[in-house]
Symmetry: C4
Subunit: 206 residues, 4 copies
Amino acid sequence: MGRAQEAKRRDGNEIEFSRIVAFSDGVFAVAITLLALNLSIDTNLPKGELGQAIWDQRENFLAYAISFAVIGRFWLVHHRFFGEVTAFDGRLISLNMLYLAFIVLIPFGSQVLGEYGGQTTAVVVYAVNLSACVLVGLWMVADAHRAGLTSIDAEAHRENRIRSIYIASVFLASIPVAFVLPTVAQLMWLVLFFDPTSRIAERTAA
Amino acid sequence: MGRAQEAKRRDGNEIEFSRIVAFSDGVFAVAITLLALNLSIDTNLPKGELGQAIWDQRENFLAYAISFAVIGRFWLVHHRFFGEVTAFDGRLISLNMLYLAFIVLIPFGSQVLGEYGGQTTAVVVYAVNLSACVLVGLWMVADAHRAGLTSIDAEAHRENRIRSIYIASVFLASIPVAFVLPTVAQLMWLVLFFDPTSRIAERTAA
Amino acid sequence: MGRAQEAKRRDGNEIEFSRIVAFSDGVFAVAITLLALNLSIDTNLPKGELGQAIWDQRENFLAYAISFAVIGRFWLVHHRFFGEVTAFDGRLISLNMLYLAFIVLIPFGSQVLGEYGGQTTAVVVYAVNLSACVLVGLWMVADAHRAGLTSIDAEAHRENRIRSIYIASVFLASIPVAFVLPTVAQLMWLVLFFDPTSRIAERTAA
Amino acid sequence: MGRAQEAKRRDGNEIEFSRIVAFSDGVFAVAITLLALNLSIDTNLPKGELGQAIWDQRENFLAYAISFAVIGRFWLVHHRFFGEVTAFDGRLISLNMLYLAFIVLIPFGSQVLGEYGGQTTAVVVYAVNLSACVLVGLWMVADAHRAGLTSIDAEAHRENRIRSIYIASVFLASIPVAFVLPTVAQLMWLVLFFDPTSRIAERTAA
């Protein structure tokens, strides 16, 4: 395959390779920390209203917790994927940039969700944002896998693909629901705590 | 022990390991720098009122100084702990994420403390935030120690546990006090400058 | 050449060298992530107006997408250039700082473009900002090349110079146009998707 | 000397050492990028007033340029100093933290200077902030040098000390002047472009 031969081997280009990873880590670290900027209190509250003001932020705290876990999870997947990358080219770097562009939007999506969690638009914004992260991530991984830039074996790649499609499906399925029952749409995301992926992978492999 | 055997050895996975550390360092670096965003002045002050405006920020400066020292201290402890980690698995990475999630809240807690330092709620918010950092940190360390992922010897680990419990106790004990005398609750934290831990460790070892 | 002899060799100073690169990567990572702070919604919108508020941000999203691609592209060029650097001195570090000072302005330029995209001033601000990045970048590369601090061969350097001048020319040419037709000036930037550089390089080499 | 013997050698602890440096670099990178947050325009300007709004920010741009150069310079000095560090202990790490705490204040000082440049208070705030950076930096370097933790030779250290005292003196001398003529006090800082340090060092060495 032409692309794998033209790509730079990771072995002989450790510094260049580690810069891509370090840049990505920097973006993840800043994005996850910016989540906390969505938590903020007015500076001139009358005495005695601070407790209420913090209580009013409870949905922002919830959005913070969810989004921290989400970005942390994306980082972990990214971390594992790049641990398996054996060669890289401009196309992989570009797809990684596109992926990061959607990761960096999560603090915005999280702000919208925290402020307007019960509304259709907020749920749709967040679901679209996270689906985009998952799907672009899948694209990046599948593309690198096909081009022979990774050491992921076929079985692991298949499981990963099923998992990504499963996660994206849950988010995408919650979008139409959000137009009728926004709160139910959010509850649908809890399904993600149950990961039937390996069972699906087994059955479809048979 | 199963977990230690399944965990990845740090030796053969230096790059993956150093990414975890680099990501954590990035989060710490951003969080500690965001503390300065709590210091801010209005842009349209009438001439001659700037001095007063800065003087009015004195509690914010104090909160900045305290929180910078606090995050710096947490970073140092984190730094030392990861210096002793010899193997890592998904569980250690997850606990580290949870730990970072509370570290990233410190700039928010610091803003609340700086703006409303004399009020019960502000003192409680800050004390809860820091206790959570200490306790999750202790959990992470104890869990990794138990699973055989570190080279910390039993004695050092025991001292570390006593110190963490001591620090968390001071913060937790200040919470009920804050409901009656918020300023006294804050002064209680000064106790932390005296570190009786090694003496306690010696006595309880006997 | 005196400067190349006085410069520190990268080989014997990997740690110092990698700190320069790591610092630059950190600045790029923070700058690219701060782009998302230009996306923000009011926190007290009446029910049902969230969709409109997000739709009103469509130009901010466009500016975000453009600027993310732009900073990502600058990072890639910077990344490749430093991959070819074989020695460094104070002058290279200073030019790199100047370069970063213009990169860090992009989130501001992007905010102006997102909010006031149809106005002459906004287009001029953005075009000046990006031209400055390209030209200072060219200065840095040409200066290091002349001083013998890189392993870029003459032909590659010539192509790089032509490309930089081409990009800067498009931005600079859009400035007078922006005084008459700001929207057309922005559309001119699309020319950059067509890269005639290698053909120009071939013809002028003949 | 006890401290040098108890300190960890950099050679055998490269990872721990490089984390200190990486953390410091992260803080510098975030702080220098946050400077751009001081540049900001209103989002609802009437048509045609954008040019004026940007022109009104000219002092903010000047403060940005000065502060970027200042932080960049501090980073370079820090970078060179840590290039000479051969061993480290808790005390060096603590002094480094204190040093960073003043570096992180520069974006705030810069905001004050940009908004209220002609006023005594703003000039004093900035001069105090930068003097503190220089003096704490000198303290850190002198302390590490005395403890035998660096490979700086006596002559280079003497020059460095003279330079630091010279810079701090200019800032400190501008403070009383600022109470009478704030603009003149700022112009005094230009003296720093002339560096008589090496001549002073020569003369006092004789």
